[in-house]
């Protein structure tokens, strides 16, 4: 993004809150606070150091107020941009800008959701769109399903290819001790599951879990004095193309093209430089679309690209690309707004903290957030010291 200086800020602390199905009556602010405390502990900072606060959730209208009160903070700078699951990637760029301007120095970005515990309908306000709601689309699944129908029509993408995305995510999840799903999955298993909104079965769709987390952003200078290796913010980009699916200009092309282009330009890097790719996989189609739109393959070739286990864990074999190394929204965790977890995993990969799922020699990681119904796209490129 113009105006942001490559590498001027870094993510220094990351943590998940409790995940999966959390204890009864834990609130979303409890989970945000838990994530914040753990992320500060991760880097050796304390609440006293925090002077910037960002949050988003579907379950608290004034969440940044609630979180500030809960933590006893009066932050110098706050942000509550809420554009769906990509909100946290937007927050990173905003925190970076605020830090560069001296508006704050240590920013916490937090998320929490109890959608599994309270039920999906209770977790997010149902909005009536008089031009869509009468047709009873099952949202958001039907919106992405419409996009999938178009991708299949234009490029010959198959249900089996989309299923390969779910299978790869599951294989990564089996290497992640905190992933929700614990059993192997096959392409046949995806195809024969309960149909939700054609061409998607329930296995093409993200999980419905509780969860939350936080990341801590500070200046590059301060980052170097902290406990963990900084994950420098090398590039950021964002794009909004529409809000409702009937307003999306071309259902096979997302704003990730624009957000990726901006992030790569700022980072002075390209897709070939990225070692670990964390993409917002709310649905299997997403991974295919974002691999195309972020330049890992050409438009229309995403289906063929994901075949044969190419994005599954393979220990760095030739031609493979590590994608969604935590198991993704499809198999690890998806509390409704997944974007915070993309950042957490990207940072951990750069630090070499990922155990069995660690990508070897990971120097550059890309986190790509998606919000709404392919509506708000935001790309964050992170790198270690060697990538600066």
């Amino acid at each position: 993004m113009d105006g942001l200086k490559r590498g001027s800020a870094a993510i220094v602390g990351v943590a998940e809150s409790d995940l999966g199905h959390v204890a009864d009556d834990l609130s979303v602010i409890d989970l945000m606070a838990q994530g914040t405390k753990r992320a500060l502990d991760d880097c050796g900072l304390t609440l006293k150091d925090v002077d910037g606060l960002f949050s988003a959730t579907s379950q608290s209208r004034l969440s940044v107020l609630a979180l500030a009160e809960y933590l006893g903070l009066d932050p110098k700078f706050i942000g509550s941009t809420i554009v769906g699951g990509s909100s946290f990637e937007y927050h990173v760029a905003q925190a970076m800008g605020a830090i560069a301007l001296g508006l704050c120095n240590v920013a916490v970005i937090a998320y929490g959701s109890t959608q599994r515990s309270v039920g999906r309908k209770q977790a997010s306000l149902r909005e009536i769109n008089p031009y869509e709601t009468p047709f009873r689309p099952f949202m958001p699944s039907s919106a992405y399903a419409l996009a999938a129908s178009r991708h299949m029509h234009e490029f010959g993408t198959t249900r089996e290819q989309m299923a390969a995305v779910a299978v790869a995510a599951r294989e990564w999840a089996l290497l992640n001790p905190v992933a929700w799903e614990k059993k192997p999955l096959t392409i046949e298993g995806v195809l024969s599951s309960r149909m939700v909104s054609w061409p998607f079965t329930v296995r093409d769709c993200c999980l419905v879990t509780d969860g939350g987390g936080a990341v801590v952003v500070t200046s590059a200078e301060r980052a170097r004095s902290l406990r963990k290796k900084p994950a420098y913010v090398l590039g950021c980009g964002q794009s909004i193309t529409h809000a409702s699916i009937s307003g999306m200009p071309d259902l096979t092309v997302t704003g990730a093209q624009a957000s990726g282009k901006a992030a790569y330009a700022m980072a002075r890097l390209g897709p070939a430089d990225v070692d670990a790719v964390e993409l917002y996989d709310a649905f299997t189609l997403n991974t295919i679309l974002f691999l195309e739109d972020l330049g890992f393959c050409r438009k229309g070739e995403g289906g063929a690209f994901v075949e044969g286990g190419r994005i599954a864990p393979q220990g760095g074999s030739a031609g493979s690309l590590p994608v969604n190394t935590n198991g993704g929204g499809l198999s690890y965790c998806h509390p409704g707004m997944y974007g915070i977890f993309l950042l957490i995993e990207a940072v951990r990969q750069l630090r070499g903290e990922c155990g069995a799922r660690q990508v070897p020699d990971c120097e550059v990681a890309l986190a790509h957030g998606n919000g709404g119904v392919l509506s708000s796209q935001a790309t964050v490129i992170l790198g270690g010291e060697a990538a600066l």
Binding site: P134, F135, S149, P199
Partner: protein, 126 residues
């Protein structure tokens, strides 16, 4: 000048009369849908109402499988005048709705408190 009617009300009044209405921006030379008070192409408040001939092509399609009840179609339709809307194709099985298929508008009146809405049926040769 305050707006005498919301764009939604004008749209629904047309539907009550069996018409599929859309707006046209004379300055942009393009259709606008959904109806608005400001043109997204020019920022102008000058938007004309027009009535569609009601012919279009299926742009994208899905079949919703509800927990209870029969599966049903949801589609995006590109109308010949150049605007797109969400709708469904009726009179054929939901999984027989195909991208590229020609379709014709008809008004669906659910009755009771519910507003009418535009649905489509196959229009071979149209």
């Amino acid at each position: 000048m305050p707006s005498p009617h919301s764009p939604l009300k004008t749209y629904l009044d047309h539907l009550e009369r069996g018409e599929l209405a859309y707006q046209f921006s004379p300055e942009a030379g393009k259709p606008v849908f959904y109806p608005r008070v400001v043109c997204p192409f020019t920022g102008s408040e000058r938007l004309e109402w027009r009535v569609s001939k009601g012919l279009g092509t299926v742009y994208a399609t899905t079949v919703v499988h509800p927990a209870d009840g029969a599966p049903f179609n949801v589609a995006l339709i590109d109308c010949d005048e150049g605007f797109r809307l969400m709708s469904r194709v009726e009179d054929i099985a939901p999984d027989q709705v195909k991208i590229g298929q020609r379709v014709r508008f008809r008004v669906h009146r659910p009755g009771g408190e519910e507003a009418p809405c535009p649905v489509f049926v196959p229009a071979e040769g149209a």
